[in-house]
C-alpha cells in the first residue's frame, strides 16, 4: 500500500507563504492498497485535491468506489467533503464510516449541505452514499483490508483507526489529548482544573491509553496528533491535542516502525515545523520520525 498526505493541518486551513512546504489544508490522508479502492481517512480541505486526482481515474467515469473513515466530525475533519468531486458523478460509491452520534450520521453530514451554508443539498449529490455507524471497539473489513478502532481523548470523542492490508499496518491517531491530565468528553471545559484525578477517571484514561497502544502495536506507520508544543499544551490541555513527546511515548510502547507527526497547529510556520521535527528526532534517536507534509507519500508493505 501507499499512504499519501493531502491535508496535514489542524483546526482551520491556513493558506500563505509560511505554510507552502508543509501545506495549509486540513486533515486528509489517503491509504491506497495495491489492488483495491482507496481508503481515505478524514475529509478536511485536503480531500478537494484528492477528489480531483481520483476524477482522473475511474471516478471520472462514475465507476469509482471509496471508503472514508472519519475520526470525528469537527469542521477541520469534514469541511472538504462538499468539495469532493466524486460525489457529483453518478455511479460512484462513497462509504462513510464514523462513530455513532446522537443523530444518525447521515443527518449529521447533511447539515453541512443545508441551504443556509452550502448551495447543493445532500439529496442532490449524484454518487451513491452509504453511512456506517461505528460503536466502541468496532472491527470490520473493507475489501481485504482489516479495520480496527480505538477511542481517543478529545472533546465530543474522536476515534483512531488501524488499516491493515498488503502485509502492512497504518494507524491514524488524531485528534487526542495525552491520557494523563484530563478526561475529555461531552462537557464544554472553559478553564481546566488540573490536579489529582479521581480513581475512576484515572482508570478510564489508562484503559484508553492501553487501547491506543494495542491498536498501534507493531504498526509500520503511526500518524499521531502533535498539534501542541509543551508550552502551548500547558495553557490549553482541554483542547484535546498532544505534543511530540506524547506521540513518541505511544510509538515506543507500541513498538511502531515509524512515527509521523501530524495535525500541525494553524499558525505554525514551515520553519517552526522543521525545528519541531528536529527536536523530536534528537529526543528519541530510537524512534524513526517523519513530519507530515502535503504530497508526502510513504510506501508500506507489499508494493
Amino acid at each position: 500500500m501507499k499512504v499519501r498526505f493531502w491535508g496535514v493541518r489542524g483546526s482551520i486551513p491556513v493558506p500563505g507563504r509560511t505554510t507552502n512546504r508543509y501545506g495549509g489544508n486540513t486533515s486528509c490522508v489517503e491509504v491506497r492498497p495495491r489492488h483495491e479502492p482507496p481508503i481515505i481517512i478524514d475529509a478536511g480541505t485536503g480531500i478537494r485535491r484528492l477528489g480531483k486526482s481520483l476524477m482522473e481515474q475511474e471516478f471520472g467515469d462514475g465507476k469509482g468506489s471509496a471508503s472514508i473513515l472519519i475520526s470525528h466530525t469537527h469542521w477541520d475533519h469534514v469541511q472538504g467533503l462538499p468539495f469532493f468531486a466524486p460525489l457529483y458523478r453518478s455511479g460512484n460509491q462513497v462509504h462513510i464510516f464514523a462513530r455513532q452520534r446522537d443523530m444518525h450520521l447521515e443527518a449529521v453530514f447533511s447539515q453541512q449541505h443545508q441551504g443556509p451554508y452550502f448551495p447543493v443539498p445532500f439529496t442532490e449529490l449524484q454518487a451513491e452514499m452509504r453511512f456506517h455507524e461505528l460503536i466502541e471497539g468496532a472491527k470490520f473489513d473493507i475489501g481485504s483490508a482489516k479495520i480496527t478502532c480505538a477511542q481517543l481523548n478529545h472533546p465530543w470523542v474522536a476515534i483512531a483507526y488501524r488499516v491493515e492490508i498488503d502485509r502492512a499496518a497504518v494507524v491514524y491517531c488524531s485528534d487526542t489529548a495525552p491520557f494523563t491530565d484530563l478526561l475529555l468528553g461531552r462537557d464544554f471545559v472553559e478553564k481546566p482544573v488540573m490536579g489529582t484525578l479521581p480513581p475512576p477517571v484515572r482508570h478510564e484514561l489508562d484503559v484508553m491509553r492501553a487501547g491506543v497502544i494495542a491498536l498501534a502495536k507493531n504498526a509500520d506507520l503511526l500518524i499521531y496528533d502533535t498539534h501542541f508544543t509543551p508550552e502551548e499544551y500547558a495553557v490549553r490541555p482541554h483542547w484535546g491535542h498532544s505534543r511530540p513527546s506524547d506521540a513518541i511515548d505511544i510509538a515506543r510502547a507500541a513498538k511502531v516502525k515509524q512515527l509521523c507527526l501530524f495535525h500541525h497547529a494553524p499558525m505554525r510556520s514551515d520553519d517552526e515545523n522543521d525545528k519541531i521535527l528536529a527536536a523530536a528526532r534528537a529526543s528519541a534517536e530510537d524512534v524513526s520520525i517523519v513530519s507530515a507534509y502535503e504530497g508526502l507519500e510513504l510506501p508500506l508493505g507489499d508494493q
Partner: protein, 281 residues
C-alpha cells in the same frame, strides 16, 4: 476610510504556492473609518488573521468594538468566526448585521456552525465577548452600524440571496458586492443605484466568462459582469474579488489585466483584492 483585504478567495480556502500572491483565505474585509470605527465585512478564514492583528490593540484588553456586516451564511463567509480571537475576550462588543430579516433565524444559523458535533465551542454562548445578532434592513435610508452609515440591498445568489453593502464615511463611499449572479439582462437598476458613483466598488469576479457560462446556476459574476456594473454605475475604482478556488495567481493576473482593458477607457481604475493590501479612500 481604510479598506484592508484579509481574505479574497471564493468557496473554500485554497492553500499552496500558486495562490501566494493574491492569497487563499476566504472572504473578509475590514474598514477603518477616519475617526477609528471598525466595520468587518464577512467572516471567511481571513477573519482569523484580522482577529490576531486586532488583539494587539483595544480588543486584546476587552475594550474593542466592531460591527460585522454579513453578506450571507455560506461556509466561506462564516467559517472564520470560531477562530476570531476577540470573541474570547470579555468586554469586547461585536454586532453582526446579516441577511434574512430575522435576528433569531440568523442566530440559529450561526449556532449551527457551533453545534458540538462540529465545533468544540458547542454554542455561541461560550463566547466571552458580547455578540449581538441583528437583521440588516434592506433598502430605505439604511442603518447605523457601529456609528457608520450603511445601506444594504439583497442580490440574487444562485438559489439564495446575498446582501451587498454601501458604506458612507465623510462623503466617501465603499460598496461591497460579493456573491452576486445577475439575471441574463444584467444588473437591475436598483443594484446600479446602490453602486452609483461609489469611490470604490468591490465586486464579485469569481469567474472568467467561459467558466461562468458552464456554471450559471451557481450565482456568481464573471469579471465582465463586474466591469459592466462598474461602468454603468460610473464608479471611480473597481476591486475584483472572490476569485475561484482553482485559479492560480497567474490566472488572477489575467483577470485583472482584462478588467483594466474593459474599464480603463471609462476612466475607472482597477485595484485587485489581494490579501494584506490596504486601500485608502
Amino acid at each position: 476610510m481604510k479598506i484592508k483585504f484579509w481574505g479574497v478567495r471564493g468557496s473554500i480556502p485554497a492553500p499552496g504556492p500558486e495562490t501566494n500572491r493574491y492569497g487563499g483565505n476566504t472572504s473578509c474585509v475590514s474598514v477603518h473609518t477616519d475617526d477609528g470605527k471598525l466595520l468587518i465585512i464577512d467572516m471567511g478564514t481571513g477573519l482569523m488573521h484580522l482577529g490576531n492583528t486586532l488583539m494587539a490593540g483595544a480588543f486584546g484588553k476587552g475594550e474593542g468594538r466592531a460591527a460585522i456586516l454579513l453578506s450571507h451564511t455560506h461556509w466561506d463567509h462564516i467559517q472564520g468566526l470560531n477562530f476570531f480571537a476577540p470573541v474570547f475576550v470579555a468586554g469586547n462588543q461585536l454586532t453582526v448585521w446579516g441577511p434574512g430579516g430575522s435576528p433569531s433565524v440568523l442566530e440559529d444559523i450561526l449556532e449551527g456552525q457551533m453545534d458540538p458535533n462540529f465545533s468544540p465551542l458547542q454554542t455561541l454562548r461560550n463566547f466571552s465577548a458580547s455578540f449581538d445578532v441583528r437583521a440588516a434592513t434592506c433598502g430605505g435610508t439604511g442603518f447605523e452600524a457601529n456609528g457608520v452609515h450603511v445601506t444594504a440591498r439583497e442580490h440574487p445568489h444562485g438559489a439564495t440571496r446575498a446582501l451587498a453593502f454601501r458604506i458612507e464615511d465623510r462623503g466617501r463611499s465603499f460598496v461591497y458586492a460579493s456573491d452576486v449572479g445577475y439575471p441574463d439582462s444584467g444588473p437591475p437598476a436598483s443594484a446600479i443605484a446602490l453602486y452609483q458613483g461609489a469611490d470604490v466598488l468591490l465586486h464579485d469576479s469569481t469567474y472568467r466568462p467561459a467558466d461562468q457560462a458552464t456554471r450559471r446556476g451557481r450565482g456568481f459574476s464573471s469579471y465582465e459582469d463586474a466591469c459592466a456594473a462598474a461602468i454603468a454605475a460610473k464608479v471611480k475604482t473597481l476591486v475584483p474579488f472572490h476569485y475561484d478556488q482553482d485559479y492560480t495567481d497567474d490566472d488572477v493576473d489575467e483577470i485583472i489585466a482584462a478588467c483594466k482593458k474593459l474599464v480603463g477607457p471609462h476612466g475607472i481604475e482597477v485595484v485587485p483584492a489581494r490579501e494584506g493590501d490596504e486601500l485608502s479612500v
